[in-house]
Symmetry: C2
Subunit: 197 residues, 2 copies
């Protein structure tokens, strides 16, 4: 049962992601979401929005990538997407160490395949990774839009900064990139996102 | 953009599952988990424990089923697994109405396929549905075991009642059923689950 014990240890450790809070605000209940909820929501988005991935994209692989992409936050915590470069570099080192530890809980073959999914997501070279990252960028934007401001207002983020992130969405899905650009325009017109850089 | 708007409405509605609390207690932080977190954890279990599904089981289908299996709780809420038969009948009717409404937010082709996944999970006829349900039963047992009692103690649940649920786990996966039976035995020996019916 050694293999099964390793897998169950990983499953229990993964559950700790329910305690890692993100910046994104929920409307009902009014609180910040955690990374487990976020990961589930992204996987549901992959089911609902798979139409907009480039032809031939392996959506089961996208889903698996989304399910594990934030597990490193059990150790490294979550960093706000508009953090400065020094904080981002520190975060990257902490996440690599966390990936070694957490995926290393699994039996060797599964550890390698889960780590491979995480590296693929980080490196953004495959169509699957680019689509997964597009969803990861889109989800907090949707939350801010439905909230009428959310973390954009809280952190004084401007439309130009959001549009820089929209470029990453368009890189994974032309249609979702266009949708996100329109969302930013609509938020500016409604006055809850400031124009400019 | 009508199709995309329908899909985004569904995605936003799905997010409300983050507010539906379940009985299962988390250790860190100490609070009840919600159904979005639960659904994500089950999908991670499908990745980690896929070895124990019967040969030929389509694990991508299991994962998709787990991601949507609790969406009806956005309307119907969560019912404790040891609720009485009258409560369970009321819950089933509420869940069917919720499935009509929530999956119906999607474009017709996707609504049919998501509803098909939900029906498949409920009917427990395919290997995929039986394995998915085994994971759904196993996850709260693991939480209770790691907590040293949890909802078993809170609701005065006895080993015989837990073993009835273990039969459903064994029906989806012989190995996980055996694991769960040993877990129950160990909980009784350690004194945090009462023996008997």
């Amino acid at each position: 049962m050694r293999r099964l014990e390793q897998q169950m240890t990983f499953v229990a450790e993964a559950g700790l992601l329910k305690g890692v809070l993100r910046q994104t605000m929920l409307t009902r209940p009014a609180r910040r979401e955690n990374s487990a909820e976020h990961s589930w929501h992204l996987a549901v988005m992959a089911l609902a929005l798979g139409d907009y991935a480039p032809p031939g994209t392996d959506l089961a692989r996208v889903t698996a990538m989304l399910l594990v992409h934030d597990l490193v936050e059990v150790d490294a915590g979550d960093l706000f997407v508009y953090a400065d470069a020094a904080d981002q570099a520190r975060q990257e080192a902490a996440e690599r160490a966390a990936a070694d530890r957490i995926f290393g809980l699994l039996p060797a073959d599964q550890a390698a395949s889960a780590r491979g999914l995480w590296d693929e997501f980080e490196e953004r070279r495959t169509a699957e990774a680019r689509f997964a990252r597009a969803l990861d960028r889109l989800q907090p934007m949707l939350a801010n839009y439905y909230l009428g401001g959310g973390t954009w207002q809280e952190h004084g983020v401007r439309a130009g900064q959001v549009l820089d992130k929209v470029a990453l969405i368009a890189d994974g899905s032309a249609a979702l990139g266009e949708f996100a650009r329109e969302l930013v325009g609509s938020a500016v017109r409604q006055g809850f996102l400031s124009p400019g850089q």
